[in-house]
Symmetry: C2
Subunit: 332 residues, 2 copies
């Protein structure tokens, strides 16, 4: 299995990418990684690590242009064919690799994936899935920011995509799919959510458990949490910042009180590096998006997500389910 | 000054209400509290406290019906004129008290306030303001759940109401008003937010600082955070539950490690009892809504919020500003 990795993705690339790739290779003998970026800099970074025989499973594609997060995604993707993002996605389109991982501009990675890989039949708008740490493990929330102004049928599609991700990558045979809302009853919420509730309730093949409130997320009440990309993105960024804030508070408090308490254990649950990669769900391929501030472990884990998506044939599974469902008329 | 307090509000009423009222009376010699509820039970609860001379500033209105949170708010308010909520709001309407505080059904408190007190001229939909603890103190977020499917002109009104609350009750001469969004640039976000941004940018009398992302809330980037009631409610409930979850994690961790670290200090910032009451902003009167699980201190603080709103003549201030602004045409 070959996975392309954007080596111009993180804010300090290619350091975290090279270190993360080497760790991933060490843990998976069947994996080969194609580093896409500034080949000269990548090679000099690798030389610092003394990779030994791992080097035989590292490949290079020279694509020295980095699309900056400030660039308008769609036009940047059209203009910069020699960018690491466009080259990486194209490798997958042409069958040279099985998946692509990038910590670069989220907008550009999405745009390149939509343009080159195309959405699966039956998907209007691919969504970003992200794992939110909970008291019971993690909940896949989607959409985490790819789409705003979603319609009920989009939320329905997110539910379907999320359910398959949870089955194939989280190992949950019958995922509990919840709809983010401000009350439990079917009639609660804004118009979109009320209609989405009705749509999901009528679909026996989705394990829909009903509305899930903001207060129920952290307790792991559902495995898949469906929402519009606006509220999903607000929630995700808020969660990350609260976790960071609280860790800071605690560190000051432990320092002030002079105790030696190691709070890192308590916050493993809040550590995004454990999860590492957010899949773009609903495209005809495997695209994993990581934070610009990813550590080597986050990159390693993002590569792990890509490997599991390939191994489980997630995309085929999604295409199969979508074609079954698209035979039925859908309102919304 | 007289404030009516719903003595059938909290889940364990009237215990927290009586204890909270007595503490408030002790701290403010000019305050009188009218306890509205089951008079017999209130009196026997008071007897347990030995209130001494504080008793002379306690008054009673017997209104033994409790509107349950599960009841449909508007019809419950119309049907139960002898409920503590309807009687409490009516006392204010008739000029017998200056404000009303309740930890009962939020929907019923809102409905009674809208029906009896009426919205201020220029306000389409009153909003619930709530204080989110931040690293710098607190940010007033509105709307926290009174309205979903808001239009840009509603968000504009929320900004105006929030700005005045921040001036009058938070003591901030020039509040920084932010719009919750998923990016910093004016063109980011859903349709509603893009239009709201334009509306707020054109109003020189609002201290609009632009878009604020989910990650920027906790750092206290703005004093007033404007959003639709759907995302506001999700965010508020999520924040409360995360704070609770993390405190639990830490308590387990300190117990496991055998250290004696007192984490309560670090979490004062996350303690909602410090704030206690969420105002319903935009009605012609002062209605303060508290949690059903309020402690005596939360009730005391909610009474304190009511006192400050009365003292600062917040409602007159809002009415004055709204009449100035309503002379100008407003799109949205």
């Amino acid at each position: 299995m070959r996975v392309a990795l954007d080596a111009l993705g993180t804010d300090t690339a290619p350091g975290p990418e090279v270190a993360g790739a080497l760790s991933a290779l060490e843990h998976n003998e069947k994996l080969e990684v194609v580093l896409v970026g500034d080949e000269r800099r990548i090679r000099s970074e690798i030389a610092r690590h003394d990779p030994g025989e791992l080097a035989s499973r590292l490949h290079f594609v020279d694509a020295p242009y980095r699309i900056e997060p400030a660039e308008a995604p769609a036009s940047a993707v059209r203009k910069h064919r020699d960018s690491s993002i466009v080259r990486g996605v194209r490798l997958q389109k042409e069958g040279d690799v099985d998946a692509f991982v990038s910590a670069g501009s989220t907008g550009a990675v999405m745009a390149a994936s939509l343009i080159l890989l195309r959405p699966l039949a039956g998907v209007d708008r691919p969504a970003i899935g992200t794992l939110l740490p909970t008291s019971k493990g993690a909940t896949l929330m989607l959409d985490a920011g790819a789409n705003v102004d979603c319609k009920p049928r989009h939320l329905y599609q997110f539910a379907l995509l999320g359910q398959i991700y949870a089955q194939d990558l989280m190992g949950i045979a019958e995922p509990r799919v919840g709809l983010l809302n401000i009350g439990e009853e079917p009639e609660k919420g804004d118009e979109r959510t009320v209609e989405s509730f009705a749509l999901l309730s009528r679909e026996p093949r989705i394990g829909f458990i009903g509305n899930v409130e903001g207060r129920d997320i952290i307790g792991g009440e559902c495995d898949v949490l469906v929402c519009d990309g606006f509220v999903g993105n607000v929630l995700l960024k808020f969660y990350e910042s609260v976790a960071e804030f609280i860790v800071g508070l605690l560190q000051r408090e432990t320092a002030r009180s002079g105790t030696q308490l190691d709070v890192s254990g308590a916050f493993r649950v809040l550590d995004y590096a454990e999860y590492g990669g957010a899949p773009l769900l609903g495209v005809n391929g495997i695209t994993i998006i990581s934070h610009g501030s990813s550590t080597p472990r986050a990159i390693q884990n993002a590569l792990g997500v890509a490997v599991r998506a390939v191994d489980s044939r997630m995309v085929e599974h999604m295409a199969r389910e979508l074609s079954r469902r698209s035979e039925e008329p859908l309102a919304g």
